[in-house]
């Protein structure tokens, strides 16, 4: 009788173990299928950076900069004349210097953009694009010789402190990076994307 009882108990235990094992295996298979779909890609900062770097040709934009420079006399005391010029400036960021971090605690993808850089400056050499205001008459030849150099210097000096131009370049860079990272961030609905510039961090 005892033997029968023991056999029945052992058989029940075996059944339980088998059922639990099947359940566990099934659960593992199900979880594997859900989280590792075929062709699925692990979303890492590296893959996001790669996607940005591949589009580095979108990093700069040309801006129109028509302005006025002032030319002083040799003693640098009196205004000789003011020169009006037509200029263009190219500005943007180096996509290769973008940093991405996954902040798991705050559920954020933190992107830090490098500083905006001026990549080229140019002033039109066409005589019709240069003009002057002077209280004394000046020779056109003398003016044209000097004006272009003065205008170029003036433009490179002015854009260094031009917040509005840097702000526009920053908005353009931020938007591009956000658009490039969109498909990745969409895969992590619990994460938020935060694009910052070096200026924001200071």
């Amino acid at each position: 009788m005892n033997v029968l009882k023991a056999f029945s108990l052992a058989s029940k235990t075996v059944k339980n173990v088998v059922f639990t094992a099947i359940g566990a295996v099934f659960l593992v298979v199900v979880l594997f299928l859900v989280f590792n779909k075929p062709g699925g890609t692990e979303i890492t900062c590296k893959s996001m950076l790669k996607s940005i770097e591949e589009k580095s040709d979108m990093s700069t934009i040309e801006y129109s900069y028509n302005s006025i420079a002032t030319v002083y006399d040799e003693k640098n005391e009196n205004v000789k004349y003011h020169v009006l010029y037509k200029g263009t400036v190219q500005a943007g960021i180096d996509f290769k210097k973008i940093e991405i971090e996954k902040n798991k605690a705050e559920k954020k993808i933190e992107v830090t953009l490098p500083e905006i850089k001026i990549t080229s400056i140019s002033v039109s050499k066409k005589p019709e694009d240069l003009d002057y205001i002077s209280n004394k008459s000046i020779k056109t030849e003398t003016f044209l010789k000097e004006a272009y150099t003065v205008a170029e210097k003036d433009l490179s000096m002015k854009i260094q402190g031009n917040n509005a131009l840097f702000k526009a370049a920053e908005i353009n860079a931020k938007n591009k990076v956000e658009a490039l990272l969109k498909p990745w961030v969409d895969q992590m609905p619990e994460y938020k994307l935060e694009v910052k510039t070096r200026g924001d961090l200071q």
């Binding site: 059944k15 339980n16 059922f19 099947i22 359940g23 099934f26 659960l27 199900v30 299928l33 859900v34 779909k37 075929p38 062709g39 699925g40 890609t41 979303i43 996607s51 591949e54 589009k55 979108m58 934009i61 040309e62 801006y63 129109s64 900069y65 028509n66 302005s67 006025i68 003011h82 009006l84 003009d131 205001i133 002077s134 209280n135 031009n162 509005a164 131009l165 702000k167 526009a168 370049a169 908005i171 353009n172 938007n175 591009k176 956000e178 658009a179 490039l180 969109k182 498909p183 990745w184 969409d186 895969q187 609905p189």
Partner: protein, 192 residues
């Protein structure tokens, strides 16, 4: 015991289905996202400009005068996202997109204005009026608009950037889903 096991398995299967369906939603490119990308691809075009007043003397008691007004402004060039549409047929994704245009008009920053003026005469005065300045700025803004519009490189860049960003979006979504989408571009008919 059997009942518990069957119930557990049923629950797991249901959860799996719900999870799969929910996650599959993120694998498919959507028109809303394409439109969002178009908006992000637009170019914020800063410009610095000079309005010119050349006031010629009308008689000998007046002097030729010049005044330049320097100012900053911003215009936005991009794709009108209301005209963007997307259709999916199997692995083929057709995107209809219009050409880039000025989507936010040239916005002059009044606080950025500075003036450079030639001296007026002592006896032969020729005053530059507020009307002269208003006309000059209007003309300069119009010229700047023409200059922006004639800068085809800027419009091409806005269009190309939008296309590249959309392609990146679709290809990445495909990569994540293990699919290879074929993108077909169609031009939105002009004048509509």
């Amino acid at each position: 015991m059997k009942k518990i096991a069957i119930l557990s398995l049923t629950a797991i299967i249901l959860i799996t289905c719900v999870c799969s369906c929910a996650s599959q939603k993120n694998d498919m490119p959507t028109e809303v996202q394409i439109k969002n990308i178009c908006e992000l691809a637009s170019l914020e075009c800063y410009y610095n400009n000079v309005a010119r007043i050349d006031k010629k003397a009308e008689h000998i008691f007046e002097k030729d005068r010049k005044q330049w007004i320097e100012y900053e402004g911003v215009a936005t060039i991009g794709i009108d996202m209301d005209k963007v549409s997307m259709t999916i047929s199997g692995e083929d994704i057709t995107i209809t997109m219009p050409k880039a245009q000025i989507i936010r008009e040239l916005d002059l920053k009044a606080d950025s204005m500075s003036y450079t003026t030639s001296k007026d005469g002592f006896l032969n005065k020729n005053k530059i009026t507020i009307e002269d300045q208003k006309d000059a700025i209007e003309e300069a803004q119009e010229k700047m608009r023409e200059e922006v519009e004639s800068n085809t490189a800027l419009f091409v860049q806005a269009e190309e950037d939008a296309k590249k960003l959309i392609e990146n979006y679709i290809n990445t979504m495909g990569e994540i889903a293990g699919k290879e989408y074929n993108i077909i571009w169609k031009q939105f008919p002009q004048g509509k």
